[in-house]
Structure formats: structure tokens, C-alpha cells
Symmetry: C2
Subunit: 353 residues, 2 copies
């Protein structure tokens, strides 16, 4: 059996900050090309390897090659059965498991597509997966997909949508010594922020997974000069919405939460800056149900947005499952343990055997 | 009698945006030096002319030479008995009246000090009056002072203090999908803004003048990234406080208004960025009482900060009195009328005759 802690350490040792995945892609290609049961293609810095055994079902297993920039944790460091370093948990541990299974499973129960893609950790529009969807969608075809993001050894089902909205409030400028001749736009912001902070939240239960919605102010701006009643102020909100809403209904909901705090007829604006819908759990799909069963643990909702949504948008039910603690992603203390890696391999091996 | 509308138009025609008062100062010096009852000195771009007649009292009449930058109103334009243009009201009308009286009153009832100073409309530390107080305080000595700022033909007594305060709130960063692991500093700002907006105000009655205090948010800032619960947010407040408070008691008062919305032991900060105390009305002083009587109108409180406070800080009671509407200061529609100019001259002439 491959020493997964050592092979993850090897991958951590190959820097692959977004846009710089070439060397790691080279290594992945060479390992996969050594397997004659795989048809391996490289598209840019994305690598896809597929079996073609004529099975009834095709399962896609996907993971991103890139990491966020290191935070004094560029080097892999093994201490006992724990590996520290950027990407240890997000998601070179997952890549190590994928590479091990891809190169040791010549006759899986379903046809498999192993997808290693670039530029996940940066702006969505630069994603290597989008590059494949637009240029080579045939390579991503499948009946279900598993994203190897860190999930702590259980299935994190679906994912929430995410939307950024900006509310800009108008006022009327005046001298601060005579504020009654104007209208303070920053003072108006107080009501909006209170409404956001006081929102009691909503949790949607889908396939037994609880998707807890979150509404957070992420930026605030306003002010003209120190003696001027400001005529403009704005707040940017991030709404994480359950996959039973789409962008349109999510926007309508936030408008309802904030009803009465802004008035578009008065010059205020409410603008959706961007939105990415989530994906429902789809745990009724046989391949995903089998994945859950193999973990012997209840699934839970994925709270962050992942490329599960990108597969779902193309009609492919998907779930997140990978080694490592999701709370450690992008954290200077990022690490993964031998046990986490081996349990993940065990579950996936049982699924595809 | 001098045509005051024409002479104000002449002064408006000489650009004197702050730091560029030299040409106007030249003209003022030449007019004053022509009067043998005046001892005229130029200090930088400040001009001071004094009588020395051995009178019991000395009255200082002061006005600033500079204007704010023009807003498409650089040229003087006379329409009937109204003059339009930058500085018409703030305060070249006042300067025209001062120049006329200075050059036509060889034997006033009190000794007079005519002070024309530079750089009032910009940062306090650059003020020409401060240059005189620090380098030639002898030139500003007097028993009382009148500042020729626009006051609409009545006495605007004393002035309010002004203070800028910045309250910075701490939070704990977290992913917006898991805000419960952090603390949103922008959400905390909502309570502060509500408290400020809801403050019912306070009015102090001094010498029959009502000083209405104002507390206004003038800037707000916060935010890290669109998927991050922000760990810092701040608001800057401008507090206009009545002259029965000094900076220390004003600060204590704002702390009391906001009590419970911030916690310095938790890392929040409450900082006074700058403060300038106001000045009490001092209307019991014989020269200022005589000024009020000459206007035949009740005085009112000056709501903005003026150099009345700078005289008061040096022990000289002072009041604001000049032609023009104070609400038009710095306004593109700034203007002054012949009647306003003549009434101001009449009042001051009666006072110093």
C-alpha cells in the first residue's frame, strides 16, 4: 500500500499556487500515463484520465491542483503521523488519494473519470474546470461526481449558493453644524446593519442535511469630509443561501429582510454584484447513496460554495468528500493526518471496487 | 459714500484662493498705507493696520482674505443690486466694508485694529491668524474683536466647538459561510450608528443665544474581502459642542452617549482625532453689547466654528458680524446684496463713530 502521508508530502513539496500548477500537472500526467487502462489528456494545466470499460455508470472524481499562497507554511513538515504545509488539507491529501486509487484500480465497478484541474482558489472566471466545461465538456461527462475537498471523512452534500449585494443609500449634503438642512446617509446605514445583524437566520433541511443560511455585511463605505453630512453610504452583503433557492429568489428574500430600510424611488440602489447558485444534496443518486453508506457516517450540508455546484449546473449530481478538516483550509496551521488519508482511501476504494 | 457693491465686486475680481492671497494683500496694504492715521504692517500675506489715539478701549475688526476654490463662479457678476461670485458673501463683502471704514474713519471712538489675514478656509494649522498669534501677538491685542464673517446683518455670538472622534470596533475574522466562528465588526457598527442617529440633541442657552449641539457620523469604513467576516470597522464622528463645554467634557459626553457600544478592554478604540473649543457669547462686554444694540436685532448663536474662538482663546471676547447669508458660504450661488453691505457699514459706523 502506498504511504499516503509520504505521497501527500511529496505533492505539498511541489509549489502550485494558482496559475503556477504546471510542474504539478506534469507529475500527475506522468503518473497517469503509466497506467494503460487510463486515457489521459492534458488541457492547459488540467489533467483528465478516464477508463472506458463500458460500465453502466460513470463516476467523476475531481480535485484542484492549486493552493492559496503559503503563509509561512510553504514547506512540507511531517511530525509523527501528521503532515503540515500549505495544501496539506486543501487539497493535496485528496489528490494523493485520487492518484493512488487511479493508478491501482484497473477494473473499477463503474467507469471512472479522474479530473485534476487548475485555478480553483481564485476568481471563478479563471477556473480550470470552467475551461474544461467550455472547451472539452466531453471529458467531464458522468452520472455523478465526487469533489475531493476536505470534509473530515464524511460526505458534505451539495453546497450553498453565494451572492454579493450592494445597498447604496442616498442622503443630502449639509454642513455638520446644520445637519437639519441635509440627510445623513451614514446614519441611515445603522438601520440596515441592525436589520442584517438581527436577522434570525433560516435553515433548510434537504435530504436530511441542514443548510444554514448566513447574511453578513462584508464592506461598508461612506463619508465626504469631516465637516460634511454625507450624501452617500453603502454596505456590501454576502448572502450564503440554501440550494432550495436560486439567485432570483435569494435576491427577493434579501430585499424582503431589508424592506423599508432603502427606497429606490428616493435614489437608493440595491444591486446584485454577483451570484453563484448552490447545489442540492442529490443523495438519492445510487452512486452518492453508496458513497454515504461507505462512510458509515451521516452526511452533512456543505456550507461553502464548491465546484459541486458547477457539476450540478451541468446536470451532474455531486458531493464533497475528502481528507482533512475543512476549517483548516487556507489556515497557517493547515495539516492532515495519516488516519484521515487512509480512511478516505478506504471509503473510495470500497465505492469503486 | 463708497459704492460697496462695486468695491466688493472689485475684490471678488482679484482671485485669492487660500495660499494665493498675495495680490489681494498688496491692494489692501496700498489702500491702508494711504491713511496717515493708520500704522500698517504686513506679515506674510496678513495685513494689520492700527490707530493709536490713546482711547480707553481697543476694538479689533478681523476678516480673512482667502476664499474656497471657485465652483464655476470665479467671475464677479452684478445683476441689479446683487453681486454674484466666489467670496461675495464669505467674505469679500465684509472686507469691502472694513476697507471702507478703515480708510474713512480717522478719529474713531475706540482705538481700532484692522486685521486682514490669510488661509482661513483650509487646515487650521496653516491659518494666517495663527501665524500672527505666534509671531506678532502685539498686533492682535485688543479689548474685544469682531469677525466679519457673513451673519446676515445680525450678531452671531460666540461659536460652537468642534471635535472629530474615531471609534474603531474589533471583531474576529471568519469565513462568511461560518460566521458563528467569528464576530462581525461591521454588524457591531449598526448599534453605534443607531445610537448616534437617535441622540435627541442638546441645546445650551448662553446670554440668550441657543447653541444647538450636533453629533454626525462623517465617515465609515470596514471590510476585508467578500467572503470574510470583517474583524475591524470604524466610524468617524463630528461633534459640534456648545461653548459651555471644553474638549475634555465634550469627549466625556460622547463616551456617555455611546456607552456600551464599544469596549476598550476588548480592543475597541475611542480616539479624539482633533478638537477646537468654541467661545462663549461674551455679550456683556461693553463693545459687543454696543454692537448688538446697533444692529437693533436679537443676536443668535454662531453654529459653525470661527476665529471668534481663536480670539477668545487669547482672552479677547469676540463676535461675528458681517454682510451676507452664512448659508451661502462655499455655495456655487454665493452672492451679496447692496442692502446687506450698506446695513453692515451703518451698524459698524455707528459703533466706531
Amino acid at each position: 500500500m502506498t504511504d499516503l502521508l509520504a505521497s501527500t508530502a511529496e505533492l505539498v513539496g511541489i509549489p502550485s499556487v494558482s496559475h503556477d500548477e504546471g510542474v504539478l500537472a506534469d507529475l500527475v500526467v506522468s503518473r497517469l500515463k503509466a497506467c494503460d487502462w487510463l486515457e489521459t489528456e492534458r488541457v492547459g494545466d488540467n489533467v483528465v484520465a478516464r477508463t472506458s470499460l463500458g460500465r453502466d455508470q460513470r463516476l467523476v472524481l475531481a480535485g484542484h491542483l492549486d493552493t492559496v499562497p503559503p503563509a509561512n507554511n510553504a514547506d512540507a513538515r511531517v511530525d509523527g503521523d501528521t503532515l503540515w504545509g500549505v495544501g496539506a488539507s486543501d487539497m493535496k491529501g485528496g489528490l494523493a488519494v485520487m492518484l493512488d486509487l487511479a493508478t491501482t484500480t484497473p477494473s473499477p465497478s463503474a467507469d471512472l473519470t479522474w479530473c485534476f484541474y487548475a485555478r480553483e482558489e481564485i476568481g471563478r472566471e479563471e477556473s480550470g474546470l470552467l475551461e474544461l466545461w467550455s472547451g472539452r465538456p466531453d471529458l467531464l461527462a458522468g452520472d455523478a461526481a465526487i469533489l475531493g475537498e476536505p470534509t473530515d471523512g464524511l460526505v458534505e452534500a451539495g453546497c450553498q449558493g453565494t451572492m454579493r449585494l450592494k445597498i447604496s443609500l442616498r442622503g443630502v449634503r449639509a454642513h455638520t453644524a446644520r445637519p437639519f438642512t441635509g440627510r445623513n446617509a451614514i446614519h441611515r446605514l445603522g438601520v440596515v446593519l441592525q436589520r442584517v445583524a438581527d436577522w434570525e437566520g433560516r435553515t433548510a433541511a434537504l435530504d436530511g442535511c441542514a443548510f444554514a443560511e448566513q447574511l453578513q455585511a462584508v464592506a461598508v463605505d461612506g463619508g465626504v469630509a469631516s465637516n460634511v453630512v454625507p450624501d452617500a453610504a453603502s454596505v456590501t452583503l454576502n448572502f450564503r443561501y440554501a440550494p432550495d433557492r436560486d439567485a432570483a429568489t435569494a435576491e427577493a428574500f434579501v430585499r424582503e429582510v431589508l424592506a423599508g430600510t432603502f427606497d429606490t424611488e428616493d435614489g437608493d440602489t440595491f444591486v446584485v454584484l454577483d451570484a453563484a447558485d448552490g447545489a442540492p444534496p442529490s443523495l438519492a443518486h445510487p452512486l452518492l447513496a453508496a458513497l454515504v453508506a461507505a462512510t458509515k457516517t451521516d452526511p452533512r450540508a456543505k456550507v461553502g460554495w464548491t465546484d459541486v455546484a458547477s457539476f450540478w449546473a451541468h446536470g451532474v449530481p455531486a458531493a464533497n468528500f475528502g481528507p482533512g478538516d475543512p476549517l483548516l483550509a487556507h489556515h497557517p496551521d493547515e495539516h492532515v493526518t495519516r488516519d484521515q488519508l487512509e480512511r478516505t482511501r478506504e471509503v473510495l476504494a470500497a465505492l469503486i471496487a
